[in-house]
């Protein structure tokens, strides 16, 4: 990729994200901004204040993605890295629909954040040890699979980039402006994978990214990961990954 990859000519094109890229985007631009403690400003010193806030342009029911985008956080997947049956405040775990058919649907809560927002905890309270504060955490966050094969997703692209994996990513502390840089990536021409691309970059916003998605593969892949949050830091096991997704007409450079 480094020696044979060619730079992509900057412009508007389609982008196919592999499971690794879809996974980091789901974790960073959906999972974290849906943590209610942070929405309430609980970590405003280090983690900032999110684009989701009461009285702001984004709240429960606001469109944040296309109809095909449903992102869940699900601790109940047996044998997964983020598996648990009850959270650390004794609440029975269940699948949480964070973005549902493109709409902001529900936040991740512990008892404290739920009480402050007049709702009930959905079992997202986790702590790394008995003497650490249980805070709102993700478990296994991913885009729900669709009904297409990866080949079908790629063959319907006239010109674009397939970003299979990433090397560098960044997102601002509002969790709105973000950037992903491809590690293994290829040009797509007339529905076929062509030469490798060196360091393709997408710089976008949470809203533009998820609204551009028009296709989701039925196959999902996961990696075990450690999500960082808190001070003192509480690294917690999660799954990241998901399906392949296709974004139409985004700026890639």
């Amino acid at each position: 990729m480094i020696t044979k990859g060619k730079a992509v000519k900057p412009g508007t094109m389609d982008l196919v994200c592999g499971p690794e890229v879809t996974g980091i985007a789901a974790h960073e631009s959906c999972g974290h901004p849906m943590e209610a403690d942070r929405i309430l400003g609980r970590e405003m010193s280090q983690a900032g204040r999110f684009f989701i806030y009461e009285g702001g342009p984004f709240w429960i029911g606001t469109r944040i993605g296309s109809n095909v985008v449903t992102i869940v956080d699900d601790p109940t997947i047996e044998h997964s890295y983020g598996y648990y049956e009850y959270d650390d405040e004794g609440i029975k775990a269940r699948r949480r629909y964070l973005y549902k058919n493109g709409l902001i649907n529900e936040f991740l809560h512990n008892r404290e954040s739920a009480a402050k927002l007049s709702t009930r905890s959905n079992a997202a309270s986790r702590s790394v040890n008995y003497d650490r504060e249980a805070i709102v955490r993700m478990a296994n966050t991913f885009v729900l699979p669709g009904d297409m094969t990866e080949e079908e997703i790629i063959e319907d692209v006239n010109y674009g980039v397939f970003m299979k994996s990433f090397t560098e990513w960044n997102i601002d502390d509002k969790r709105f402006n973000q950037r992903y840089v491809g590690r293994e990536a290829y040009v797509i021409e007339a529905g076929k994978l062509k030469h490798p691309v060196a360091r393709p970059i997408i710089e976008t916003t949470t809203e533009k990214f998820w609204k551009a998605v028009d296709a989701v593969s039925k196959k999902v892949e996961f990696d075990a990961a450690t999500c960082g949050k808190g001070d003192p830091a509480q690294g917690i096991p999660v799954y990241t990954g998901g399906p392949c997704i296709r974004l139409r007409g985004v700026h890639v450079k």
């Binding site: 309430l40 400003g41 609980r42 970590e43 405003m44 010193s45 280090q46 900032g48 204040r49 806030y53 702001g56 003497d131 650490r132 504060e133 090397t167 560098e168 990513w169 960044n170 997102i171 601002d172 502390d173 509002k174 840089v181 360091r199 001070d231 003192p232």
Partner: protein
Amino acid sequence: MSEVLNRTEEIVKKAKSLGADEVVAKTTFGRYRQTRFSNNQIDITVVWNDYLTDIALAWKKRVVATQIRNFQNIDERLKQLFELAKVSKENPMFGGFAKGKFKYAASSADKKLENLENPAGYVFEAIQATEKEAGQVVNSGGILFTKFEDVYLVSSDGPVGTDSRSAIELSIRAFSQREASGHGVECSSTLKGFDAARAGLKAGEIARLARNPKLGGEGVYDVILDPLFCGSMLGMWASMVSAFNVMVQLSIFVNKLGQKVASEVVSMKDKPASYSVANRVFDDEGVPTRENVFIDHGVLKTYLHNTSTAKIFKTETTGNAGLVAPNAWNVEMSPGDMSKDELFSEVKRGIYLTNTWYTRFQN
């Protein structure tokens, strides 16, 4: 507290009796307090105490390490560790732990930080200073953290030492608008050198300056880095001066000893001084710590070593041994001769970067 030293020594003896060639054990009895606040109110104060024993042992050049919390299941854990050593591969880079007896500087830890009275007072002092400087009601959040650690180290190769380490740290970020904030930090190894209001004033000043932000364009600018930004970068460079990271190619300083790696006005040193929140009088092998200038007027002078990496590089340890790999303790960039106002006055078109977030390298 000599009982803790005795128990640490007992761990070393047990490991030796199992057949270990060399053993180092370090027990840290830590008392930590943290007050977290947001939206100008305190959310929670957490207090936790624990005994954490770091153990590294070598058997026929197989090196393994573990941590035991609160002296639990010592026999079983040591047995497991030794079994792990037996199935591990020889580490050709292992050159032994430091040998001999050393004298250490006296600890200067502040007993007042063992049980800090009224942490909320410092928090509200900072919040009030923030609003005073910002000239309006601001929304502040942050963390006040204190630690007091008694450290006991015993090595089968000779070093035995005790140290006490204290620190108080305050981080406060103030939002004057939804998209305008300033960040201030304050830290000290003693309560005497700590001024909570100073962090608040800094946060308030930047929060005031940051009001009504405008989108900037790409281009070439002069850049002024605030100490908070610069410190974050210093931490990254310091990790790359570790000889271990040089050996495994996780460093921009590979094969650069004696070469110019920065401009002439740049000098950096690792100084685990008494005023630092990372103060310590010995490293994890029991070698006395010292000041190490690693970049002198732009020239890379040394990597940071433990005993093993020093042997590989045919030099002496720099007193930077961690449990496995050498670390920097407290990195400082040497001051120059200009005032902050002078720096700004010479910039015609530039950006003042007051903080950083998620800084990553591309390879």
